[in-house]
Amino acid sequence: MNRDNDKGKLLLNRTFVFACFSVVLLLSLIGRLYYLQVVEGEKYKTLSDENRISTRVLIPPRGRVYDRNGELLAFNDQNFQALIIAEQTPDIDKTLESFKKLVPLTEKEEMKIRRDIKNNRRFVPVKLKENLSWDEVSLLQLYAPDLPGIVIDEGLNRVYPMGIYTAHFLGYVGAVNQAEMNDDPLLSVPGFKIGKSGLEKLWEKDLRGHSGNLKLEVNAYGRVMKEIEHENGIEGKAMHLTIDSRLQKVAQDAFGQESGGAVVLDVHSGEILAFVSVPSFDPNLFTTGISYKDWNDLLQNERKPMTNKVISEHYSPGSTFKVVVALAALEAGVIDENTRFGCSGVMSLGNHKFHCWKHSGHGPLNVVGALKNSCDIFFYEVALKLGINKIAEMARLLGFGSDFHLGFDNMQKGIVPDKEWKEKYLKSKWQQGETVIAGIGQGYVLVTPLQLVTMLSRVVNGGYAVVPQFTKLSLKEKSKIKKLPISDKNIEIVKKGMYEVVNGEGGTARRAYFNVNGAKMGGKTGTTQVRRISMKERQTGIIKDENLEWRLRNHALFIGYAPHDNPKYAVAVVVEHGSSGSGVAAPIASKILKTAVELGL
């Protein structure tokens, strides 16, 4: 019995130890609970919210673009797409059949839809068709009872009502590519589009607006349970352009089937009134997704519809450059209004012979007569007296060689050659002959139509350094435009020459003459060779332009302004392979300026 007592005591002692141990263990669980729920509670609250809250970024409407008269040039249109939610239809096949009767689907589309349905969870909406027409939407709504599980979703499409007329300065929008991704969450939203070229790209920051937020509660499988927060985005800033869509349309239509560029400025402010590059393209094609064929056609076209000829192509200015040379010579004092040079049709310099376009020669001419007749010999002589650096100095003063800080990424600066330029880029010494041909805008000098019109504006506005603008200048900004160190007297002499070109008897652009209530235009023609003429061809007779294939014909240029007495508008027209500045470019410029005067912008 003694041993039994010991046995009982031992049981009691041991059990007491274990009981204490088990109580401590259970109490330690409360400690652990306290640690997880109080000490680390906030951390887990955040994790729990991350689990259940799914935030969707809402795309804000893109800013609208208006012309100077409040005409819409770019806006956002509702875009409807049909989606199917598999779990909401009792019979997918039947629903799809009904849908196909209302909105036809190609076999390929249907295959993709069926694949998408199979690959997604049953509550995930699958796209059936996008860009539904209004008729299709109405039909689908009418037959909604036969279409269980089909929902119509609304998005926004960028629309350019003037299409081809605005393509080259507005540009277009497109899907975001990998290189354009940054930390803006909008960029990763499927279907979001950003500016790809032109002002759409340049003003992306303003036009984009600010994204909205949709906070949804989702379960572990991603199904949406309820909406927690809905914050609409802020529409992008509306932009008002200086473009006049009426003038734009006339200007672009004036080109007919030709290829080239034209740009019209308000000479006092630099505001761009029209901006034409033809042939053009329809930017709306890019919004809905351009077909492979359409894209290929655009790229293969030898007239390069995707190239912006106003800012991205540069051309030899040809005789239009004589305005710059004349002004430089007058300013430098190497000639005055009465200085005359005799033109016999040819000038010799060393072993070289330099020809005038008129083989028989013009006889003695002063600067006004030389501009009127576009005499080459006069400007050869002037250029020689002046030297290349003086010419380059004036050219830069008038805006050549500059991109005006417009910010487009596809802008050409052109070339204003001088001695330093040649040594730096071509590693050789400047030749006198090069000065001679620079006098008539040939050789190394290259300009864009935008630079041409800026140059002309700076001359005819009395020497104010205007810069091309797409948005209106405030009065304060206008008053800040710098006066260039060019005398009014010399400007008047050059203007007189340009007046004679159009209005004078025998002027090279006499055919482009107009008179709207006394408003007449002045200007300067230019025709530039794009091919080399060999000595042999020169001896046997130069092939006439119309007998050459298109891409070898001369470029036709014209710069013009109106009204002559009180200049307001300046235009530069380049017709690629248009053969003749006076015959092809001048009439286009005339039509544009006449319209501008008539519109009285």
Binding site: R3, D4, D6, K7, G8, L10, L11, L12, R14, T15, F18, A19, S22, V23, L25, L26, L27, L29, I30, R32, L33, Y34, L36, Q37, V38, E40, G41, K43, Y44, K45, L47, S48, D49, N51, R52, E217, V218, N219, A220, Y221, M225
Partner: protein, 380 residues
């Protein structure tokens, strides 16, 4: 047959009033909390879980009362027999489990699924209690006296490991060890066992199923596989932690209702409770279980017979194992081994087995003054 030591036979009425109603109240409150949790887990619905669980509780409750009112000597008498019957059942499901379709480890009783491994937890305690009741301290402290009980514990445990149900097998072995400890097996034997376990652990690792290995590895580092095995424990900690002090409110647990929390009505029900009722709710559940545990120890203290004491200690330990392993598991303190929280988790088998245990414990307490004497091993 029995030594004439006991004082009197208790009448049924005396027994009924001898039931410890405070103990029973704790059981009822815990079950009620469980029903609330199951109602919430179903998104605010009695079906499919809460209603079934309620029916099972009522049935089990009567079973508990029945077992509490049975003559205490019956337990002592049939302790060995019960063990062997359950062992046969265990072997039977093992055999039929292999022959039959898939690996079915239970006998279907419609309302309950009878798992012999659950019954074994109880009958093992009864077996050991009777064995040590009959042993002298000398026998307990001798090696020879331990051979039989060790084999009797290892054999069913091995069968259960083969099922494979590592969690239940380990629970069975732990309970056995606690009983060995309480009856007075010398400490050095435990040290030898512990040393042996350390040596053989790498070998045993070899024999674990891949999913069992994964569970252990994932326990050691849940972020190892956040979408696979680690998902459960990570989501459980998020649910618990985000509950804070006061919880997200009844029916408002986002982790559970949005299905981020797996097994929310079974193994992870404590997590759901703590998400919705916070630290306060979780603490109440733990404290109620603690009270049940302490009641058990008090019963063991005041019961006069060695057999009764040991039965209560064993069954109490069993219950403690359930509660501790389950909660420690969802709190990320133990590997996920698939042990439910008794009275609260949905499931008939465990409900039946713990209510039966409570019945037996209550019976031992009612008859705390009945002298069962000390039987020698060969008496039966």
């Amino acid at each position: 047959m029995y030594e004439s030591g006991f004082n009197k036979n208790l009448s049924l009425k005396e027994k009924f009033f001898g039931l410890n109603w405070g103990y029973i109240l704790c059981i009822v409150i815990l079950t009620a909390i469980g029903l609330l949790a199951l109602y919430s887990a179903a998104g605010g619905s009695m079906t499919p879980w809460a209603k079934n669980q309620l029916i099972r509780f009522v049935v089990s409750f009567f079973l508990m009362l029945f077992l509490a009112l049975v003559d205490v000597r019956v337990y002592l008498k049939y302790s060995y027999l019960a063990y062997f019957v359950v062992l046969l059942l265990l072997i039977a499901v093992e055999v039929f489990g292999h022959i039959g379709m898939g690996a079915q480890r239970w006998i279907d009783l419609k309302l309950f699924k009878l798992q012999p491994s659950e019954l074994m937890k109880i009958s093992m305690v009864l077996f050991l209690a009777k064995y040590f009741h009959s042993s002298t301290l000398g026998q307990i402290e001798s090696i020879k006296g331990l051979i039989a009980p060790v084999l009797m514990a290892l054999f069913p445990a091995a069968l259960i490991v083969l099922q494979p149900d590592l969690g239940t097998a380990l629970m069975l072995l732990f309970t056995t060890m606690v009983i060995f400890y309480c009856v007075g097996v010398q400490m050095w034997k435990f040290y030898v066992l512990g040393g042996g376990a350390l040596v053989f652990a790498p070998i045993a690792w070899h024999f674990l199923h891949d999913y069992q290995k994964n569970r252990v590895l994932t326990f050691l580092n849940p972020e190892r596989d956040p979408l696979g095995s680690g998902y459960h424990i990570i989501q459980s900690k998020i649910a618990l932690g985000s509950g804070g002090v006061f919880g997200k409110g009844f029916l408002n647990g986002t982790q559970s209702h949005l299905n981020f929390l797996p097994e929310k009505h079974t193994d992870f029900i404590f997590t759901m409770l703590s998400e919705e009722f916070g630290l306060i709710g979780g603490t109440i559940v733990i404290l109620l279980n603690l009270i049940i545990l302490i009641y058990g120890y008090l019963f063991a203290y005041r019961i006069t017979s060695y057999y009764g004491k040991l039965v209560v200690i064993g069954l109490n330990t069993n219950y403690f194992m359930y509660v501790f392993i389950n909660i420690a598991m969802v709190l990320g303190l133990l590997p996920v081994v698939g042990i439910p929280l008794p009275l609260i988790s949905y499931g008939g088998t465990v409900m039946l087995s713990v209510m039966a245990s409570f019945g037996i414990i209550l019976c031992m307490d009612i008859n705390r003054n009945v002298n069962l004497g000390r039987q020698s091993f060969h008496d039966e």
